[in-house]
């Protein structure tokens, strides 16, 4: 089973930021602090690998460490690792860590935590 997903995202454009800001009803930030949520594809792939039923999935916590600001034109290399997967009282707990590197420089580290309310597996999500 895969526990690491890596992909190269499209270069960062002004339009991406504008679309994201509009969808969060924001007109403040040059680079929205939660914009890196766009780089969570790897997390969803890992959850599919774990055969998690999306109906039972709750995103419980999100953490960002901002190492360096993003710039327009940055081409993010996104690496997501399964940090923890445990089961307790018929619930599963999943934590994934994502690093985004652009041009060899680390931009953010993101940690996402999920609870799967009841242990269920299915063939496809």
């Amino acid at each position: 089973m895969k526990d690491l997903i890596q992909f190269q995202a499209e270069p960062l454009t002004k339009e991406d930021i504008k679309e994201f800001s509009s969808s969060t009803l924001s007109n403040h930030s040059l680079f929205p602090l939660t914009f890196p949520t766009r780089y969570r594809n790897g997390e969803f792939e890992l959850l599919i690998e774990l055969k998690i039923d999306m109906r039972n999935l709750l995103h419980t916590e999100q953490e960002y460490v901002y190492h360096e600001p993003f710039k327009l034109g940055d081409v993010p290399l996104v690496t997501t690792r399964l940090k923890e997967h445990k089961e307790r009282r018929r619930m599963q707990f999943v934590t994934a860590e994502t690093e985004v590197i652009c041009g060899g420089r680390k931009k953010i580290t993101a940690v996402s935590s999920f609870v799967i309310r009841e242990k269920t597996t299915k063939e496809s999500v």
Binding site: F20, S22, S23, L25, S26, T34, T37, F44, E63, V65
Partner: protein, 134 residues
């Protein structure tokens, strides 16, 4: 601006969450979970309707941070949020917070939370905001 411990941030009140906004956010954020978009799917999950993305609440908290700490003077170094209560279409969220600690270099630790129209805390977080050196 000089911040003091326990000082309240200026709150940011957002318009009511709509299903249309959730669709827009799902597209912009790349979140594929149908629980935010498909009411039948959400009902199968035990909810009365689609539910808002937790990350949308975090984005509202980010907006509150940016409103209180201008990017020309401050840089957010760390930011975390715990999603405590489900938000549904029709809910009105206010993002607010208070200063937790002011450090000697001007950096500020901030407690943040979103409240719905019933005064319930739906998300709670913290941020470390650094004062930019001129």
């Amino acid at each position: 601006m000089v911040w003091l411990e326990k000082q309240k941030l200026s709150p940011v009140v957002k318009p009511a969450i709509t299903e249309e906004l959730l669709k827009k956010y799902a597209k912009a954020s790349g979140d594929p979970n149908p629980i935010h978009l498909d009411s039948d799917f959400a009902k199968q999950a035990g909810f009365p309707s689609v539910i808002a993305h937790g990350m949308l609440s975090m984005a509202f908290l980010a907006d509150c941070l940016c409103a209180n700490f201008p990017e020309s003077e401050y840089r957010v170094a760390q930011f975390n949020t715990r999603f405590k209560k489900i938000t549904f279409p029709g809910d009105v969220l206010t993002a607010t917070g208070e200063i937790k600690q002011v450090q000697s270099d001007g950096s500020v630790s901030v407690s943040l939370w979103t409240e719905n129209q019933k005064g319930e805390v739906t998300a709670q977080g913290e941020a470390l905001v650094k004062l930019l050196t001129k």
